[in-house]
Amino acid sequence: MTRHVVVEDPGPLTTVQDHGRSGQAAIGIGRSGACDRASYGLANRLLGNRPSAVALEVTYGGLVLRAEDEVTVVSTGARCPGAPHNGPVRLRAGAVLRLGVPVSGMRTYVAVRGGFAVDPVLGRVYAGDAVPAGERLLGTSAYGQAVPVGAGASTRRLLVTPEPRQVALAGENLQPHLTTVAAGGTVEVADNAVYPQSLTVTTTAPAGQPETELHLVAGFASLATLLWYVIQLGWHLYGASDE
């Protein structure tokens, strides 16, 4: 399924960005990539995109984006009036997204489900390609199933992406502590029968590695809150859910 959007107006400056590339600093090439990496990363996580999916970096708002085909978009970073901020929305074919000027902050990330298809340079999108008015961008189909925040069922099985991530969970002494979920492992979250207003998080490591079960207490009264929290922490929730 193709998903095209048209940048009717790039505002003062809109560029295509990904997370840049390391490993070339010794020959004078810096990392480049999105300026506000946390916001760029959050946009992709909210959509179930790969961590390196290409997004638009909008400076001082003003972007006017028309969806030629139905597409799911989100914005993060500097909040612009008119933007689907921190929460993905589906744009119908023909719908137009208009970003106002942010009151605070300068860079807004506008991402689509799947990211944009742009030719890589040096193995990555070369940072700073400015998008001219009228440019037609194609979305890729490379994305997982984004875990819906606030959906009904109380049990979710989530597949952790190939990069090891850390999750903050409360241990027996009710203080948050960090633990690493092994790459390729799964995390199962369910209502905790013993502790009210808490969830049980069970992590399963890949074959050969130990399993852990942790009790999450206090502050995560609902699955929706937990999922939002882990997305903020940097998890890529990328895989099937069973209901």
Partner: protein, 207 residues
């Protein structure tokens, strides 16, 4: 070597001299600790950039504390082949450099082409290497005021270093010649010919 903190995702190794820098750089090419995503040499330091998802500064500090720059030093370097840079020595500042050195133009060319150079580190622009001479004491002051445009391929001198401008840019170095060799090409693998620790020989050619 001192190991200094450098933010939450970096370590700066401070060295006594360029030899130690290149020695460490060479050793780290072979034995790079997990999670070190960039090793960046400079005149007296080597910067290690870490990926915080994989490792921590403390962990890397423990791994580099034992590194011996001597392992990577000159013996192996002498065996490696040098990149040849063909140069037409007709730079605008060749006379000025001759005067600084108290000799004539031909002698400047002779000294520049006599020995081998080593790329000490890169910076300023992608693919711009700062070359240090094996022999001779080069100490050439920069231009009083920089040029706003230096042609690509310009071969230049400043301080103890020589360099080749990979593309048109401003520049304050003394221009002694030009080369057709594309020292930086984004479409080539590797893109930069003059990467750190590369051996270089300048060769005089006719225009």
């Amino acid at each position: 070597m001192r190991v200094l903190p450098c933010g939450t995702a970096g370590l700066l190794l401070e060295c006594d001299d360029l030899d130690e820098v290149l020695g460490l750089y060479s050793v780290l090419q072979d034995r790079r600790p997990d999670g070190v995503v960039d090793v960046v040499p400079a005149a007296r330091t080597v910067l290690l950039v870490l990926d915080p998802a994989v490792t921590t500064p403390d962990r890397v500090r423990a791994q580099v504390g034992d590194l011996d720059a001597g392992e990577g030093r000159t013996t192996s370097r002498a065996e490696r082949s040098a990149v040849e840079v063909p140069v037409v020595y007709d730079g605008d500042d060749l006379d000025d450099v001759a005067e600084i050195l108290g000799c004539d133009r031909d002698e400047v060319v002779r000294r520049h082409t006599a020995g081998l150079w080593t790329v000490a580190f890169c910076g300023f622009a992608p693919g711009f290497g700062y070359l240090a001479a094996d022999e001779g004491d080069w100490s050439i002051p920069r231009r009083d005021s920089p040029r706003t445009r230096v042609p690509p391929g310009s071969v230049a001198l400043a301080g103890e270093f020589s360099g080749v401008y990979p593309r048109e840019s401003p520049g304050g170095w003394q221009l002694i010649g030009r080369t057709d060799l594309a020292v930086f090409d984004l479409d080539r693998d590797p893109p930069a010919l003059l990467a750190p620790d590369t051996r270089v020989r300048f060769v005089a050619v006719e225009p």
